[in-house]
Symmetry: C2
Subunit: 472 residues, 2 copies
Amino acid sequence: MGKDDRSKNFNLKVPKGTRDWTGEDAALRDRLFETVTTVFKRHGATTLDTPVFELKEILSGKYGEDSKLIYDLQDQGGELCSLRYDLTVPLARWLAMNPSVQSFKRYQIAKVYRRDQPAMTKGRMREFYQCDFDIAGAYDAMIPDAEVLKIVNDVFKALGWESYTIKMNHRKILDGMFKAAGVKEDLIRPISSAVDKLDKLPWAEVKQEMEAKGLSADIADQIGEWVQRKGGDDIIEFLKSDPVLSQNEDVKKGISDMELLFSYLDAFDARSHVSFDLSLARGLDYYTGLIYEVVTEGSAPQGKGKQQEVGVGSVAAGGRYDNLVGMFSGKPIPCVGISFGIDRIISILKARGESTQRAKDVDAFVMAFGGKGFTGMLTERMQVAQELWASDIKTEFSYKLKPKLPQQFKQAETAGVPLAVILGEEELKAGKVKIKVMGITDENNPEKDGVLVDRKDMVTEIRKRLPTANGA
Amino acid sequence: MGKDDRSKNFNLKVPKGTRDWTGEDAALRDRLFETVTTVFKRHGATTLDTPVFELKEILSGKYGEDSKLIYDLQDQGGELCSLRYDLTVPLARWLAMNPSVQSFKRYQIAKVYRRDQPAMTKGRMREFYQCDFDIAGAYDAMIPDAEVLKIVNDVFKALGWESYTIKMNHRKILDGMFKAAGVKEDLIRPISSAVDKLDKLPWAEVKQEMEAKGLSADIADQIGEWVQRKGGDDIIEFLKSDPVLSQNEDVKKGISDMELLFSYLDAFDARSHVSFDLSLARGLDYYTGLIYEVVTEGSAPQGKGKQQEVGVGSVAAGGRYDNLVGMFSGKPIPCVGISFGIDRIISILKARGESTQRAKDVDAFVMAFGGKGFTGMLTERMQVAQELWASDIKTEFSYKLKPKLPQQFKQAETAGVPLAVILGEEELKAGKVKIKVMGITDENNPEKDGVLVDRKDMVTEIRKRLPTANGA
């Protein structure tokens, strides 16, 4: 590390598809983490934190053709490892490794890695956060599923969101439909993935894709007639009354689950925002029952945010996957869960102008002033800062020996500090300090130039004048 | 993902040197994160979160011979990347990338990666947490340095630790000493690293190492005579009065810094636990001024923890590094910081028997009972749970349709839930629920069998009986 290194030309950037988090974004992210964690814990969840990389073989065979997006570590001798691609497979691996655990309600907030083509504008990154909540264990039907959806409601309620839809469907209903329509077994997943595009493409294009995949036009039309329905109890009524579907065993099983689910959601007061959408299919192969996706129709309120268009998009998704743990241990543990798209939710919060929170959250700035021969009063500023820290008041002061008063005010203003504590030699000798609420412009406010208080009352007087918590 | 995969033999483990965090360990870790974050924020710090991997060239040339421990990502096309080795180089990279930022007080809590030989018993892992606090910016001498040390005091005070020592020294004093003793320039770092072992080895062995490195016995003896001193102001007195050392320019500069530092620590009421230790050298090359290391003499109190011996060890370390940012941008920004060894601190907290915190933190368990024809009252349990969640009471209930009462009590007991809310059909009809504090064994306690309360008072009555926050 000699001086020669300075001349070296560094490529000063972060790797493609990654980013640093700081300032308002980090503050917004922390607030979001706190919100979701509070909800998860209210439901009795505990956290699981897994290594950022797993043995390569743990991940292989789990993600279908997306496996090519997995980041591998270089073979430097020893085990072959890959960066985690999601938080679901590590959970399944942990459950399989701990056979004494037969039930587990866990959350995990962590970054995952996908060597995808980054599209920053769409929020598609190579390193991004996932925030997962899952309930593992063999329970009576649909009870944990209903609690997961209750949690979805609780999270968005806590965020103050009104306009979102929880689209849900059931793999058994979907597969039963395909079978009832005459789709051959090996075409079910491909046709399912075509149906899943109905939220983005018109029916004609989806039908075209189905025909290209080898489905006859009349079967496609039959499917189209069915899957374009969405609603609530009326969808259950439709499925029960349709002469073909009502006879299919898979569909029947799915209907029974959905009826239970709706009654449980009613008990949880969590039926609002729900749409039973027969076109929802979800990409991942491992789902076995209920599936859901939360979408928001979120253009920002006019004139509030910088970006006006947020667009429709998925902000959370999940479902029931009863066989994944069994892939590791041979002993299946049924699971149901949800993954919140943290980065996307943050983009929307920002677009809605909710990043008003100060990145830096300091309560008081201790400063000093004096006339000719001013020493800077550094020790005195330090002592006062120390007293405030001891009282849990977030405090800063200038790291200069002899800072000028305007400099100190500017530093406090820039950091958005609400209160100044101003020390003067005469005042300190008289046992007093001045407290000034920053930014008072009203000439008639008696505290415009600050107020002298006894040093012993300093903490109390500061507390009186602090904005209430999170009052930004 | 067909059924065939089930037969596959997975190597069910985490990669060597990594671990999962869950249960009490995770709860203890979260408490520690909260403690240090509260202290950092009280001092006006904001967070910076960097990607888990950096461009390989960013890390190269920073860690000397330890560079071989860096994990590289496989070359899958595109940029060559490596997992971060610490949080200091990413901070320096960020500062260099953001030239408009001339000062920054940041903390970062994140995992770092070293392909070292793991030694679990010593707490040496390949993936482990670092928790860093740094102050970047050109300020008057020793002011930020003093605040970093104040933070060290605040963190261990918040953890309730009494027995720890903040060993400190100054690179300029150390280097000045070596020069004054006649050590040649190219031997200074090797001799420095020998001196650093004085906390583990007797002087005779350190002297042997020095001689092996090419130092003459009399120079070694002179150094030994100097570096084995430790204390407080008396060390400053010694340095100022020693006829050789007091004339060395580097030593003089160091003395002036240490005098300032001590006066600032006094102002911060942070002089306790400090030991000016002339043998402290610290391994990393990039330190340029004050260096420090926090050690604890921590065997656990008899009989409290499972492990009795924790041993002496470093739990935090850091110093001033004024040239690292300049290696990236050519424009140096002076920095001073500290890194807390989270995993080691957690081991010590556990050994001290402080992992009493419940891993699962649930307030109330809603259960139901009934006689012949008992329906299980699932909907009613769900409705009550929903009411409690809405009042921010952490609540669980059995996911069984018709759970037996002893089963429900057992589930609540196992999870350490303090309160049961018991529903009976008759009671519910009469608008009442029973609240029972779990684990009352005193026959004379009037609430031993629970107390019937009006449903409308349920939340209030539960709150009355909840243990106070963190009262574990």
